[in-house]
Symmetry: D2
């Protein structure tokens, strides 16, 4: 589930924060020689997806009623992003994702992209749960509990213990 | 349909060939200072979509049974691409798309990307029609006729005449 | 310069606001059936680039000392984005870009993406001028004047009048 | 170099073939629900970059004369691609990259994208070495030797043994 023969692929928990390593390739750069600003949003979305997976959730699962969570998908509804530095080809970045709370149909998430000790980007992101009809949907409590379980200090220990 | 207040947006026919103008932005380039090779595939897909639209077809319409063409979408199944030159930021390119025939479930398309008189890329592309179930589907003859109508010499005149 | 045989390609001024039409293609969507959230940043960057071009500036020109503006390129340093609606394949959007002021090394820009009368996205963006060395650089007053000339009510009339 | 604390990040050698695991995210899909065709080219480019890195080469290093290989970068000049299947969100793919020979200024590379036992895509790719001036350049023999060392049966053993 989390990568099988490739255990690193989905990153890992560092306390309450999920850490995803990301290599910078041609596709992420632009003619300025640096990473294209919108590429960081792709990297952050990978981090959020891997945090969900770490919590036992997948996008395909969320869309599959059979999993008991119900038919739902996530859509970003607000982002505040500060671009603080620059990364370039071949850099090894870390996307750090923290679950910062849930209210009704919305999740708050904080993300940071680092290159070594240097902070490249910081974002505060609000994500809404939508049904297949595109309308907001209350986030199922089971889903919030699964997220909280891996992103709280206690949960992290449990989460690591039950990782498959 | 083809751009409303923006008549140029979908390009135009040049004899049997559809021509779509495309401006190069940051997003299309990479750290080498040139257009990223996979970006040309995005540009070519725009050209194919605009040729379909010129013929009176849209992706959303193809997925909508009510239009009489039937539920279908297109998937690229083969590409042969020669990268012959380089384009860079701010360049104004032309994507030239020619319908090169239809056999059963497949369309053959030839595309060329030019920058002024210079040929940047040339591609031979085979596209398959699939149903919602992902299985190959015979391309509806009405659809082939609509494509042929705008890409034949006679059809081009008719096509222009009925453009909305 | 602004599209030559394709006068619409770079959009146009609507009072103080630059308007760029953008068609949604496969590349802009994701498996949810809607436009991928990071795609809107690509569309907005096209709008900013076309506003610069409308003002007589190009990215390649900015990097070319011979134009008298000096060697400089722009990097986004902050974005606040509200995603208010959804667009999908074949939609015709308008990216509306307003120059909202300049302080030292930074430009403030407001952008909106609309689909017909519906507002899809709204963004407040801060852009910094950097030298080739990656360090912030005061934005040349000539450049600010050129931007102001096309985005002020008076300037807009002049701007349209001198468009080539 | 190859990922440091993340040893899996750059994939590994399987005999003469480099294998890179890739997770499918929102960014890779389109409204058809499947992976966008041009996304596979991005995935393949990651595979080629990691094969280079495995051989001790990096894009930044290739551009840095101090490494003794000389100033050079690679550009794709021809691709033949067969799209044989479909992948979708959350899928774990493997990009398999084989070095298929070198003639003067060109490298031949064969790539395959697999999802479990299923072959999704197959590509034959020709890559040219260019100097900073954009002109073809003979590929330095030291570079070819480094590639051959990790992609030959003997070299693979050595390559693994000296991996850092």
């Amino acid at each position: 589930m989390r990568g099988g023969a490739w255990p690193d692929l989905g990153g890992r928990m560092d306390g309450c924060t999920h850490v995803l390593p990301v290599r910078i390739y041609y596709e992420d750069t632009d003619f300025s020689g640096r990473v294209y600003h919108a590429s960081y949003l792709r990297l952050c979305e990978r981090g959020r997806s891997e945090l969900l997976r770490w919590a036992g959730l997948s996008h395909s699962g969320l869309l599959d009623e059979a999993d008991g969570v119900g038919t739902v998908f996530f859509a970003v509804c607000r982002m505040e992003i500060d671009f603080l530095g620059a990364a370039t080809i071949d850099d090894l970045l870390e996307v750090r994702t923290t679950f910062a709370g849930c209210t009704g149909a919305r999740l708050a998430i904080e993300q940071q992209v680092r290159c070594g000790e240097s902070e490249i980007m910081r974002a505060r992101i609000t994500v809404a749960a939508l049904g297949r009809d595109g309308r907001p949907r209350r986030i199922p409590s089971r889903l919030v509990n699964m997220l909280a379980a891996v992103t709280s200090a206690d949960g992290e220990m449990t989460g690591n213990g039950t990782a498959s």
